[in-house]
């Protein structure tokens, strides 16, 4: 079994032992999203227009919520040293950590989003495209977030710093994610937006594992 698969298996097993950690993130996502229709009132047109933006922002904050602990627990309990000493590239281990994070946050958030989209009055096309943008875009959030988590390792008040680092880097993904839904709803077709969203995800995939590995080595010193 490769280090990549072994690490994902270990992290998923740990999440299964603490389903509450994932539950809190998903509950936050639902609560944060549902506050908007409650606060704004039954203005269906307005709600449908802001739906994608609200859901994307809520997904971003929910992902951030769980990112802080991504490497901190490994750092504290000494398993980070074992990762640094594992044979094979550390970049792959970094990618494995982000993948495990996406499986327990990005993936369920994406699948939950259309249910919440209904409460905003999004139409069928909008719901499908929204789910699709989140599925394509949320891996970027896990990767960029993983970089933030690795860079803030060992820093006091890492959580706030993490948000400051990660949020600006996620702006392009946010813009094209919400843009795709708007374009689809207005009938323009979302394929351009989705292509750019996928390109951003690939760019993150091609760069962040190296940066995360470098940051982890630095933290290990």
């Amino acid at each position: 079994m490769s280090v990549f698969a072994a690490l994902i298996a270990r992290d998923l097993l740990m999440m299964r032992r603490r389903p509450g950690d994932v539950g809190v993130v998903l509950a936050f996502f639902v609560m944060a999203t549902l506050l908007f229709p409650l606060g704004i009132g039954p203005e269906t047109n307005l709600l449908a227009r802001i739906a994608a933006g609200v859901l994307w922002c809520a997904a971003l904050f929910a992902a951030l919520l769980s990112l802080e602990r991504l490497f901190v627990t490994d750092y504290d309990d000494g398993t980070l040293d074992l990762l640094l000493l594992a044979p094979g590239p550390l970049e792959l281990a970094a990618l494995a950590k982000c993948t495990a994070h996406w499986i327990v946050t990005g993936l369920p958030l994406s699948l939950l989003a259309p249910l919440l989209g209904v409460s905003f009055g999004l139409d069928g096309t909008g719901l499908v495209v929204l789910t699709f943008t989140l599925l394509v875009g949320s891996p970027t959030l896990s990767l960029i977030g993983g970089l933030g988590a690795a860079l803030t390792l060992g820093a006091p008040r890492g959580g706030a710093l993490l948000a400051l680092l990660v949020l600006p880097l996620c702006v392009p993904t946010l813009i094209f994610g919400t843009g795709a839904v708007e374009a689809a709803v207005s009938g323009e077709g979302a394929s351009t937006h989705l292509a750019i969203l996928a390109a951003l995800a690939l760019l993150a995939l091609a760069t962040t594992p190296w940066a995360i590995a470098a940051a982890l080595r630095q933290a290990g010193e």
Binding site: G78, L82, L83, P87
Partner: protein, 209 residues
Amino acid sequence: MVAPSLSVEDLACRRGGRPVFAHLSISLAGGEFLALTGRNGSGKTTLLRALALLTPHEAGIISWQGRDVAEAPEAWRGRLAWLGHADGLKGDLTLTENLVAAERLRGAGTPAAPRLDAALAAFDLAPLADRPARTLSAGQRRRGALVRVLLSDATLWLLDEPANALDGPAQEALRAVLQRHLGKGGIALAATHSALDIVGARNLRIGAA
């Protein structure tokens, strides 16, 4: 096969911009044990981390069988077993799951059940194997971490305060395991405050002026 030999020449390390030690030389052959002693902050942990290439060293050469380990760091990492200050156990996983995960992360695959049982038995942990690590005491977790080292089958053991939190019988078990490792031609370095009573142990006092 060439007999294992570790040689460190003229090693110098800094920690937080401050020099910790310099001109440190070590030469160890198979079957030898080196106890690193010295006051708190004298650089025992730094030396062990430098040997594992976790911390860069400022000057000097670490070589294994006459070859600089920096040339093939991956092969070097595969030769060592590491026991740090922290135990490297995940609190939510059981002891067995922790050990299996650690072996897989080493790229060694799932250990066979008899081998795992024998390693657990060496530290008298068989009855606790299915308990989550967070429910174990500090000494029991330390023993669990030592089982991980034993299970790795690595030639070179780098141990940072291995006897921390261990009670009398556990220290005895550690001594027996170390002695067996050395008997098989392995090498071990341990930063330690308590004498481990290893036969033929050498001692290096770091920071002795």
